[in-house]
């Protein structure tokens, strides 16, 4: 047996039970769902009727709980289920939630919360103010340790094949931390400016804001951060931490996004990295295929300069075909990232005639200053992918009279990104759909046209798209001067033929990217076929990670960037957090499209600073923590552990104490009182927070405008003794906490008038009646009669309508600055699921049943399971402690009767 007793909940009932049992020598496991013990009591201002400081009473008990040698406390954990074993013991399954902070290292200094860029309502301040996603529960927390609130991977991050923390840099831009946003992307890849322009932004497709009015402009925010950086004084200097040289050398063949990213990651780890590029300039398709109107060359230059600034050597005009030779040259490992360089042939007559080119060669020639003269010419582009759109648009910019895109399926099946095809059309490209080339028509060796056959769609093929089928007898000729073939591309199998499959792709282990030659890895499109920039970057990151693991003799695993992300949180879960969403005008890019464009000027304008902040401000913080890494950077103890995960533990125990406390009535269920509609209507718990030394405001202020209130009203029995909300029970302590607050307010705000509207004053406890009288003597006014309605006045004051029972029963209206609803309590239904198939018995009001409350208080319907405190019904603090004592005695009797304790291991 692991523990004698499991105590669930560390409010005053749970702490009292744990301490007493531990003092008796029993081994106690205390499980608390929050990051601190203490429950609600520690959050109160003072306690009645003594007006002792709640912290002063709770604090020592919290400390005793945590430090008692017989108590093991699992904070930030939940009991997932309890089963009773055949011998009378229980097996409890406890889920220890990941805190993402190493509590052994955390000093509770609060640097992480100050650095955090995500603000959320602070449940420990009754949602009156903000806390951060990185937070310490409250100032007196025991243990005083930070946790990160992570509710999953944000969809934008989850959608990124490059593993770039989109939510993080959005959050940083929202906070005005532009350089930090740039650095966060830079941590993944040097191609920040490139991605800000040429990425197809799968993050935006998955953005939860898409389900409202439109996505956060994530890609453009990245561009904004990159432009800010590159235009600033820091541009060109090493922008990121680089390890000392480790003496190992890695060769990377190819300088596209995969190769550049792999080089970046390895160089930062201290490797001597050399990139070997076949062409005369580095960049791969970024430079040689993507036209400048989408991706200016100077942006590619700036991104590549990130690499050279940290010592990466780039050798151009170098062809590699023998990796062994590189090994012989002293390279410890080689990564091949040569992409897809071979254009797929159409295999039609006339394809090799002058005036028939493939798209890759055409675009490369244009990028390298060898653009063909197309003024007044007619161009037909065969294909429907992004390269086809680029070829058509480039043709128009080179002066072509017309650019027709001939595609064998319909627009719906077109593989080009929908934005690319739409923009191409807007610039004047004409789509010839459901046609396939059968011949390039030539005269005198020159292209004069292309013979096309009309197609129709048949059954879906392996890709799920409907297969085009020729329509017999439907051929026709389209006159043109240039045919550009863009029907596909594949890796060049020649240099590494022994490693290539039949499609020319280098065969690798998909998780390690290692080839059959141990020192040789491959990344990007050369392994996967033509994909996109983000996938190539993700592959480059993976290859770099695995090369490092291999060279340091570690197992080829641990690529947490993509392989160990938290489950992506669903949009429905995110949207369910709020009752309503305000409309925000979506911020999107300003793209200038003109028909028949004639220059290569970048077509998309950058966001202004205001647009960037507004766009970032629309982020819904789906995963809560944005993964911006500011806490990681700020923590002096290096305690942040983003790789922590929930852990499940099984414990065998001899008895269980349920001390799960209560819930507070949701005051908005009494709409006539205006909670949630009028900012100056608050709950009793909120007032207790305003009165506490660790209050969320600097004084007792009304939330509507920050004014010190002078006329404060209390409305008792809000949500209790009220059949209209399904709770006929008295909550027992609302009258007294209201009186307590009445006195405290008169102490804190000597000029304030305090009035309580009550039904009955229930002061049944030792010195409670005297406490009530004392409040009256101090000047508090008590009016008998239920408040029927609260309305708000233009200045935020509140008009209470009530029946003045003791003065003739008249309907009276009175104006106040602030109204406090003395909310009652409700059962905590979390206990329902604790015991699975044999649930704990509940009474008719859903509190834990005590079948023999008079004779055996604390006993429940399950032998060996006991209840302490308000889990079994309304009790004030004094009664909770007494009830806990009773439960402790029952537990001890049970354990001694069954002789379980002799076997306790702890």
């Amino acid at each position: 047996m692991d523990y004698d007793v499991l105590v669930i909940g560390s409010g005053i009932g749970g702490m009292e039970s744990s301490i007493k049992l531990a003092d008796m020598g029993y081994k106690v496991l205390l499980v608390e769902k929050e990051a601190s013990v203490g429950g609600r009591m520690i959050l109160l201002s003072k306690v009645f009727p003594t007006l002792d400081c709640a912290s002063c009473i709770s604090g020592p008990k919290m400390s005793s709980t945590i430090n008692h040698p017989n108590i093991t406390t699992m904070a930030f954990s939940e009991v997932a289920g309890i089963t009773k074993n055949g011998d009378g013991r229980f097996t409890a399954k406890v889920r220890e939630w990941a805190k993402y902070v190493d509590w052994a290292a955390c000093t509770g200094c609060d640097a992480c919360q100050k650095a955090c860029t995500v603000a959320v309502p602070d449940q420990f301040n009754a949602n009156l103010a903000a806390r951060r996603a990185a937070y310490i529960a409250f100032p007196q927390a025991v243990p005083k340790k930070a946790v990160l609130q992570r509710e999953g991977t944000s969809p934008c991050i989850g959608a990124c094949p490059a593993g770039i923390k989109a939510h993080g840099y959005v959050s940083l831009v929202r906070s005005g931390k532009y350089e930090e946003a740039f650095q966060l992307v830079l941590d993944a890849t040097p191609l920040v400016g490139t991605l800000g322009r040429a990425c197809y932004a799968p993050c935006e497709s998955e953005c939860t804001r898409m389900k409202l009015e439109g996505p956060v402009p994530i890609r453009l925010l990245k561009r904004f951060a990159a432009d800010k950086h590159y235009s600033g004084q820091d541009s060109g200097t090493p922008a990121i931490e680089v390890a000392e040289p480790n003496g190992r050398r890695v060769a990377i063949v190819g300088s596209g996004p995969a190769g550049l990213t792999a080089a970046w990651q390895l160089a930062r780890q201290g490797y001597g990295v050399t990139i070997l590029e076949k062409r005369s300039t580095p960049g791969g398709y970024l430079r040689h295929a993507i036209p400048a109107y989408r991706l200016p060359q100077d942006v590619v230059d700036a991104d590549i300069a990130n690499l050279t600034s940290i010592g990466v050597e780039i050798r151009c005009n170098v062809s590699v075909s023998d990796p062994e030779a590189l090994k012989a040259d002293g390279y410890d490992a080689v990564i091949v990232a040569t992409g897809t360089q071979v254009a797929t042939r159409m295999d039609v007559p006339g394809e090799d005639a002058e005036g028939s080119v493939n798209g890759l060669d055409f675009l490369a020639a244009v990028s390298n200053g060898a653009a063909p003269e197309l003024t007044g010419k007619r161009v037909v582009v065969v294909g429907g992918g992004n390269v086809a759109m680029d070829a058509a648009r480039v043709s128009l910019r080179l002066g072509a009279r017309e650019a027709r895109v001939a595609y064998r399926r319909t627009r719906a099946e077109m593989p080009a990104h929908h934005v690319e095809s739409k923009d191409a059309e807007a610039e004047g490209a004409v789509f010839e759909l459901l046609v396939a080339p059968t011949e390039i028509v030539t005269r005198g060796g020159l292209v004069t046209g292309v013979r096309l056959q009309r197609m129709r769609l048949g059954a879906p093929d392996a890709s799920g798209r409907r297969s085009p089928e020729p329509i017999p007898g439907s051929e026709y000729t389209l006159d043109c001067d240039l045919v550009i073939s863009t029907i596909g591309m594949s890796p060049d199998p020649t240099p590494f033929a022994a490693l290539a499959d039949k499609r020319g792709r280098i065969t690798v282990d998909p998780r390690t990217l290692q080839t059959s030659i141990p020192f040789l890895f491959a990344a990007g499109d050369v392994t996967a076929g033509a994909t996109d920039i983000t996938r190539a970057i993700g592959s480059g990151r993976r290859a770099a990670h695995m090369v490092d693991r291999w060279l340091t003799a570690q197992p080829l695993d641990g690529f947490t960037v993509l392989d160990d992300r938290l489950e992506t949180i669903s949009a429905d879960t995110v949207l369910a957090r709020q009752t309503a969403f305000g409309h925000r005008h979506p911020v999107s890019g300003d793209v200038t499209l003109t028909k028949d464009p004639r220059d290569f000027t970048e077509i998309e304008a950058p966001l202004t600073e205001l647009q960037a902040r507004a766009g970032a401000g629309s982020c819904l913080d789906c995963g809560v923590c944005s993964e911006c890494q500011e806490c990681v950077k700020s923590c002096p103890a290096f305690a942040i552990r983003m790789d922590q995960r929930d852990q499940l533990h099984d414990f065998e125990v001899g008895a269980v104490v349920v001390a799960t406390g209560h819930k507070l009535f949701a005051a908005d269920l009494k709409p006539e009182y205006g909670f949630g509609q009028f900012p100056n209507v608050i709950t009793g718990m909120q007032m207790d927070r305003l009165l506490a030394p660790t209050r969320p405001f600097n004084s007792v202020l009304r939330p509507g405008d920050g004014k010190v209130p002078e006329r404060i009203a209390y409305v008792s029995c809000t949500g209790s003794r009220d059949k209209t909300v399904g709770n006929p029970l008295c909550s027992k302590f609302c009258c007294m906490y209201s009186i307590k607050q009445n006195q405290l307010i008169m102490g804190a705000l000597p000029l304030a008038d305090v009035t309580m509207h009550y039904m009955d004053m229930r002061a049944a406890g030792k010195r409670y009646e005297e406490f009530y009288t004392q409040a009256q003597d101090m000047g508090a006014i008590y009016i008998k009669g239920r408040v029927s309605k609260i309305t708000e006045q233009d200045n935020g004051d509140l008009l209470l309508r009530y029946e003045d029972i003791e003065h003739g029963g008249h309907i009276v209206e009175a104006s106040y600055d602030l109204v406090v609803l003395a909310v009652g309590i409700q059962p905590n239904r979390d206990v329902d699921r604790l015991f699975g198939q044999t649930p704990l018995g509940l009474d008719e009001y859903y509190y834990v049943a005590e079948p023999s409350a008079e004779l055996n208080p604390g006993q429940t319907t399950i032998p060996g399971v006991f209840v302490a405190g308000t889990a079994s019904g309304a009790k004030d603090i004094v009664d909770t402690i007494l009830h806990s004592g009773a439960a402790v005695a029952q537990v001890a009797a049970h354990l001694e009767h069954h002789h379980f304790t002799e076997e306790a291991l702890v």
């Binding site: 919360q113 100050k114 860029t117 995500v118 603000a119 959320v120 309502p121 949602n127 009156l128 103010a129 903000a130 806390r131 951060r132 959050s171 929202r174 906070s175 005005g176 957090r577 709020q578 009752t579 309503a580 969403f581 305000g582 925000r584 005008h585 600073e609 205001l610 902040r613 507004a614 970032a616 401000g617 982020c619 819904l620 913080d621 949630g676 509609q677 009028f678 900012p679 969320p696 405001f697 600097n698 004084s699 202020l701 939330p703 509507g704 405008d705 920050g706 004014k707 010190v708 209130p709 002078e710 708000e792 006045q793 233009d794 200045n795 935020g796």
Partner: protein, 91 residues
Amino acid sequence: MTQTLRDPREVIREEPLMHDPILRAVASGPATIGEIAERIGHPVHEVVYWVMGMRRYGHLVEGTEADDDGFFSYGAVDQGPAATLEECEYE
């Protein structure tokens, strides 16, 4: 004052976005929440959330006493350069 209150979570989420406008609003000296709200063009009850969040995390500090109307003034803790944005309205 009667108006539809936005969900507090939505308002609080915007706090980081509002730091610069609020710091600009108090750049020339401490101001009450009502004054800040007027300067940045947002509802005063929303500005309460933002000011209290900024106060909690060390960006703003209150004066020692409320004025005759019962309002405290809040000023920047760090009297460094004012925010550079020309405007404060983001929505």
